[in-house]
């Protein structure tokens, strides 16, 4: 092999490409950085204005409304535990990071999923890119992310988006494709336009599947918080990272427990969104 084909200089190509991006798209990256920073900081200070007990009660009530009593109780106890352990502020920072990443995932992922569901050619291009995003080790794109977005919360958000967005896209495609063919046929037979078919039929029927995708995105974004902390993102991840590097096993467990509590609360809430709205909705 080596004899007749020299090693492909993929590494060199990537270096050149990253350099080119850093120098030529600096303005764009700076804009993205400042926007994301503003969003995350805004969210953190917004959450910070709310006294912790009000925040706890608010979230408990939301859990009660969306899900059930058990989950509401868990929310209350879980949040109280986090406050008690002294991780309230890092928790808010983590929440802001995760929510920002998930919102971006939804804003980009759902339209992308819809587009891919309508056009097989788009789907063929998107699918391998999603595989790439999910399996390429995060550290590989974390370093160039520092070049583009500097140290801080922004490369953390970007890395989280890259890792967390694929389920939203995949399950949006799946949900839309899973709408029974006879229902699509019926909407066609009555003379629906493509937009009407999407908005009135496909998206509503795909909603449970899309919600499952968003739920998965949230979980994946949470799983990225420790890695994000390595490029300077604050929050619970940073506490875990610090504890691990200083071999403080107990502290690491506490911070990790706080992440788990947040994960379970967010998971149960998103799982139950939209579920109890339509009692009759059996397909």
């Amino acid at each position: 092999m080596e004899n007749w084909l020299p090693k492909l200089p993929i590494a060199d190509w990537v270096d050149v490409f990253v350099n080119w991006l850093t120098t030529n798209l600096e303005i764009a990256f700076n804009a993205i950085t400042s926007v994301l920073e503003t969003v995350v900081d805004g969210m953190v200070s917004g959450f910070g204005y709310i006294p912790s007990y009000v925040f706890m009660i608010l979230l408990t009530l939301i859990a009660w409304k969306i899900a059930n009593k058990t989950i509401a109780l868990f929310t209350l106890i879980g949040l109280f535990l986090i406050a008690n352990l002294g991780y309230w502020d890092p928790m808010l920072e983590t929440l802001a990071l995760v929510l920002t990443a998930v919102i971006i995932s939804i804003l980009l992922g759902i339209p992308m999923g819809i587009w891919a569901s309508q056009k097989p050619s788009v789907r063929q291009i998107v699918t391998p890119i999603l595989d790439f995003m999910q399996t390429m080790p995060a550290f590989v794109y974390l370093i160039p992310a520092i070049f583009f977005f500097n140290i801080g919360v922004v490369p953390g958000v970007v890395a989280s988006v890259i890792f967390a967005m694929p389920p939203t896209i995949r399950l949006t495609i799946l949900g839309i494709q899973q709408v029974p063919a006879d229902i699509i046929e019926a909407t066609e037979a009555f003379g629906s336009t493509t937009g009407q078919r999407l908005l009135k039929v496909q998206l509503p029927l795909a909603m449970p599947t899309i919600m499952a995708g968003i739920n998965q995105s949230i979980m994946l974004a949470l799983s990225m918080v420790v890695i994000a902390s390595m490029v300077g993102a604050p929050g619970l991840g940073a506490d875990v990272y610090r504890a691990v590097t200083q071999i403080q096993i107990g502290k690491g467990f506490e911070a990790g427990l706080a992440i788990v509590v947040i994960a379970i609360i967010l998971d149960r809430l998103t799982q139950n969104i939209g579920k109890n709205k339509k009692q009759g909705g059996t397909a």
């Binding site: 029974p180 229902i183 066609e188 037979a189 009555f190 003379g191 336009t193 009135k200 509503p204």
Partner: protein
């Protein structure tokens, strides 16, 4: 008026150019599949559907009937051919025009209901109107009207998942009726329902159709359903239409072995009606005296005769012996009239009149709603028709839509001039015991000589 015209419509799945050529040359579905790998969905179908007609396309699964109906609104694009809706070829239409046809002219009902599970019954029914941009109030009124028509008032806020199959299909029907299209395509609409509900739905469809006069193309694999509701039936096999005709035409004159095998198990008594098998009624006017009545009976070789007034309204029957008494006493026919005679309407199915025919002492009279005498039921002819003898049927040869007279057409259009009725043996009354003996004789004769039932009826005629 022709509502739908289908000209040489062909659907080929797979590479089609060469296959179409082969199809035109008359190659079979199997040999085309072998030579080109293309599957013939529908092979050069031709038919027309008149406004207000229920046209049934029937065939077993894989015969191409569902593909064919989907080409009528281009849910499936034909590979070749033309489909005219109100004289316009929809195959040539662009998306916008096609959408308009689907919105205004053609509605569809689906086998698996295809309701939107996230919408209430009312919202489902409104769907067709909603996408046309009709204001909420207007479309709610129209949708409610449609729901009332199908008997779903009070269910408008339920979700489809809360309804039974039969009710879900009513919603499907209401949705199709709500946008007031002239043409209704029904793709195996009742096939997913259990038999009793299916029969109810068929009855209701016929009732609705009597009111609304839509043009309905109904797909089914169920022969009984086709015979029950179809004004005309197209029978499909391997993508081709093998025969188009009324239920009677298909049953009595199957165009080939396939159709014959298909229909051989059909219970004719549930298809044929009194109107099909009745013979011309000999009668005497009430104003005539007993002498005229006796003369008529003697000429015809019968022992009793029906009495009518000037308008042919049935008054009753008289027997020959009573007429002789009346003649001796010099009285009119009114005094000896027996008014309690058995009558049936011409659209009564044979299965429903066996009992009357078998117990009546004189042939049962067929009358219209105004009690006007149309004909009589001779036992031999009834049995002959059930045995599949066309000669015992009225209006079978070349009978077009009149044959559907049984249900929708005015009854007086039944063709009295047809051959089987002209033979002069119709009225045949005798004393009860004689009658019974003779019927047995007739039956034997018919079974032995199926081609000449009328002669056989004549042969043992005697005046009492």
């Amino acid at each position: 008026m022709k509502k739908i015209e289908v000209r040489n419509v062909t659907k080929m799945f797979g590479k089609s150019k060469k296959a179409i050529q082969l199809l035109r040359e008359g190659e079979s579905k199997q040999s085309i599949l072998k030579k080109t790998g293309a599957t013939v969905g529908v092979n050069q179908a031709n038919f027309e559907v008149e406004a207000g007609e229920i046209f049934v396309i029937m065939g077993l699964s894989g015969s191409g009937k569902s593909t064919l109906v989907r080409m009528l609104n281009r849910l499936i694009d034909p590979t070749a051919g033309e489909v005219f809706i109100d004289g316009e070829d929809i195959v040539k239409m662009n998306k916008e025009q096609l959408r308009n046809v689907r919105r205004k002219k053609i509605s569809m009902v689906f086998q698996k209901f295809a309701l939107l599970p996230h919408r209430t019954v009312l919202e489902n029914t409104e769907y067709g109107l909603e996408i046309q941009g009709i204001p909420k109030e207007t479309r709610a009124v129209k949708a409610m009207d449609a729901l009332k028509l199908v008997g779903l008032e009070g269910y408008e806020n339920q979700y489809p998942g809360q309804l039974s199959g039969g009710m879900q299909q009513r919603v499907g029907l209401a949705r199709a009726l709500a946008n007031d299209a002239d043409i209704l395509l029904m793709d195996e609409a009742f096939s997913a329902l259990d038999p009793l509900i299916r029969k109810d739905m068929q009855d209701e469809l016929l009732e609705l159709q009597a009111k609304m006069k839509k043009t309905i193309v109904f797909i089914t694999h169920d022969l009984d359903e086709a015979l029950r509701i179809g004004d005309r039936i197209a029978l499909m096999k391997d993508g081709s239409i093998v025969q188009i005709g009324t239920a009677e035409e298909i049953l009595m004159n199957p165009s080939n072995d396939y159709v014959e095998r298909f229909v051989e198990d059909v219970d004719l008594s549930k298809v044929l009606t009194a109107g099909h098998v009745m013979k011309r009624a000999e009668s005497v006017s009430i104003e005539k005296g007993p002498r005229v009545a006796l003369k008529n009976m003697k000429e015809l070789g019968i022992s009793s005769i029906y009495v009518v007034d000037k308008k042919k309204t049935l008054l009753g029957a008289i027997t020959a012996s009573d007429a002789i008494d009346a003649l001796e006493r010099n009285e009119g026919l009114a005094t000896i009239l027996q008014a309690d005679v058995q009558t049936v309407l011409p659209d009564t199915l044979l299965t429903d009149l066996f009992e009357k025919v078998s117990t009546a002492s004189i042939p049962v009279a067929v009358v219209d709603e105004n009690n006007r005498l149309l004909g009589i039921l001779v036992r031999g002819a009834v049995i002959g028709a059930l045995a599949g003898n066309n000669i015992d049927l009225n209006t079978i040869p070349n009978g077009k839509t009149e044959v559907a007279a049984g249900r929708l057409e005015p009854i007086n259009r039944i063709d009295f001039s047809s051959k089987s009725v002209q033979t002069k043996q119709s009225n045949h009354f005798s004393s009860e015991s004689d009658q019974r003996r003779k019927v047995i004789q007739q039956d034997n004769t018919i079974l032995n000589l199926p081609s000449q039932p009328n002669e056989s009826l004549n042969s043992d005629r005697e005046v009492n």
